[in-house]
Amino acid sequence: MSDHDFEAIDSLLSSVIEQAVLPEPGVRRELRERARLSKAQVAKALGVSPSTLSGWESGRDPSGEIRTKYAYLLDGLAAKFATEPPAVEDGVDLVDIDPASEETPSEAAALAPGNDEPADDVEALAVPEPCVLCGNPASHRMDGFAQHLDPADCHPTPTPPVAASPAVAPAEPGPAADATPAPAGSAPAAQASPPVSERAVRTSRPASRPASVKPPRGRAFQEESGPGVLIVQAVRAALAEHGGDVDEATAALIKKAIPDAMALLDETRKGARYDIVAHPALPKVLRKQTAKGADQVWEARPKWTRAVPPPGVHEVTALDMNAAYLSALKTHLPIGQLEHSTGFDFDRRRAGIHLITPPTWNHSDVLPNPIGQRDEPGPLWVTEPTLRLLLRLSGPKHQLCEPPEIHESYTSGSTENLLEKFRITLTDARAQAIEDGDSVTLEYVKAMYSKLVSTMGESNYNRELYRQDWMHLIRSQAFANLWMKAWKAHTEGLHVVRAMGTDELHVIGDWRHVFPEGRGVTEVKVKDTYTIGTTTEDHTTTGERE
């Protein structure tokens, strides 16, 4: 064998290195956000796509060379924050980041009080590395070598050349000193504790984040150019125009909610895969039959009251699902022109309206019929969410009814993501408005989504979008969501007494362990409480009305 061969083997051996250790996914994200780096920035630096980075921050692990790079980046960030207390974020506006607040953390740290003695050479490690002196895991690096800062931690087996440690120990700043809990005589403990990454996370995190400092609110550094800016700008402009008069500004904003919602929708579809087809030729069943009348589509609105309440006297709570139509924007919407088809199997990649014969429903005594309060017998046109709900309930998991019989359909290729960015933008704006107690934005957001849904059909108030099919689908989705909530309450042991409209559910029992209470989109709020029972037939309202 020639030297050349050995060289090749050597280079191969040297390329086989240990996989760099990464902190927990949550910590990765936290580090990036504290550094006010966007996913796009970091992804560009690493040469990967932002979605890949999202994956790494939510549980996946990179491998190979890119892993080493990523570990290096996270290490660097961890070191930065361990030695410097984070900048004070309270004054930072969510969206409008002025240049002053975008200063690098080190500048901010230099201005922050109580940081007189920065230990410039000491870096905290997100993942412990073996100490150069004793070989045990150490969570700090000084002058490029991982080592224990406190000599008490460092117990080398041979004679210790501990020249560096005493020189540094007195100069330790507060936060960094906390990083390694070092009670006197902790040698056995340090030896015994396993060098798992979990420990490293625990030790490095409290150090880098004192309890008094808030993390950046939301995704402040990403929102700068996002569609949410439109909402903030509109609210600001309205308030400025009306001299801060909240009522007038709200009224003005509600008045232009429809065009603004369309503008926001356009903004959120930038660079999207599918165009929104706003004026397709729609089948006759979606046309109004008379000027005032409705078309033939059945939206399955629930209007159900339990005929025989459970025996005894009960306290009933009327729950209100928050922002039901906003959540219902996430539904399978047909993208293009609806095409007619008959006699086929259900295709879950398409969505539209279907002529079905609904199955008989035998649970009306405890649960509402998923197709709503239908009086006429025979086949009817239902929308995609209703059909999917029926198919789901007839499936092997639930087995509540027979599968519906599909006769004909008008469908198109569908996606669930058509309004997704729009929905998320409004949800975020809504959550922020609730947090800030900002009633103007709250009302504005509410008007935008509710008016968009109600005028996206054949309405003269919104001529930019003629999608009766979407309007029906979104409404049906809200009703299907309510039905699933009723089902959840039922399976958790509550008695469902009434399901009404889009968002009203009356239940008996301890509902707080089933539905979280609050104002978020996943939470419920109490509308009313009243008592029913065998003695009093009528509903006696006892207050607590919002």
């Binding site: 087809v277 004026h279 000027a291």
Partner: protein
């Protein structure tokens, strides 16, 4: 004319001329009385629209409402009911006058000070065409800046003019513009 549209529908394609589709959409945007002309409420409303002012009467006359003032008076006072032929005439004249009245306003909205209006072109329906004869046709979007010819032809009821105006527009679609001579529908807002 682009080739292969000479015998449109020979292989089962279904559609209408693009200009007609635009006219349909313009009619929808123009709105008007929705009650059918056969109902009393419908024809009286149309007659009122056509005789409200001297200008309206002149326009109706020019558009072909050739009945004597005496008959018109009898209709309006309810002493006489228009015959079926007259009802058809009333409907036709009403559409013409309505288009002329709305055209100016609609044109201004569609031109939008030169910014124009985006239109969606939904291609012809090929579902009954044999696979070997099908074309690859997609839904197309384009911005139309100058609507004068289209709206002018629509207001004048000039079928030929609409066709020409449509051919001018779809020239901007690129080399397969000929495939969009016939369409299912054209959508736009105003």
């Amino acid at each position: 004319m682009p080739e292969k549209n000479i015998e449109f529908g020979k292989y089962g394609a279904d559609g209408i001329k693009g200009g007609d589709a635009v006219a349909d959409q313009l009619d929808k945007l123009a709105g008007g009385i929705t009650t059918p002309v056969t109902a009393k409420r419908g024809w009286t409303a149309r007659l009122n629209y056509l005789t409200r002012t001297g200008h309206a009467r002149a326009a109706a006359k020019a558009a072909g409402l050739t009945v004597t003032d005496r008959t018109l008076k009898a209709w309006l006072e309810g002493k006489q009911k228009p015959s079926r032929a007259s009802l058809e005439k009333i409907e036709r004249v009403y559409r013409v006058v309505r288009r002329q009245n709305v055209a100016k306003h609609l044109l201004k909205r569609l031109n939008k000070d030169g910014r124009g209006t985006r239109i969606e072109i939904h291609p012809l329906n090929q579902s009954r065409v044999a696979q070997r004869n099908k074309r690859v046709l997609t839904h197309r979007d384009m911005n139309v800046r100058r609507w004068d010819k289209l709206v002018g032809a629509w207001a004048a009821g000039d079928h030929r003019g609409l066709e020409d105006a449509w051919d001018d527009i779809i020239g901007d679609l690129g080399s397969d513009w000929g495939s969009y001579e016939y369409v299912t529908s054209v959508g736009f807002a105003a």
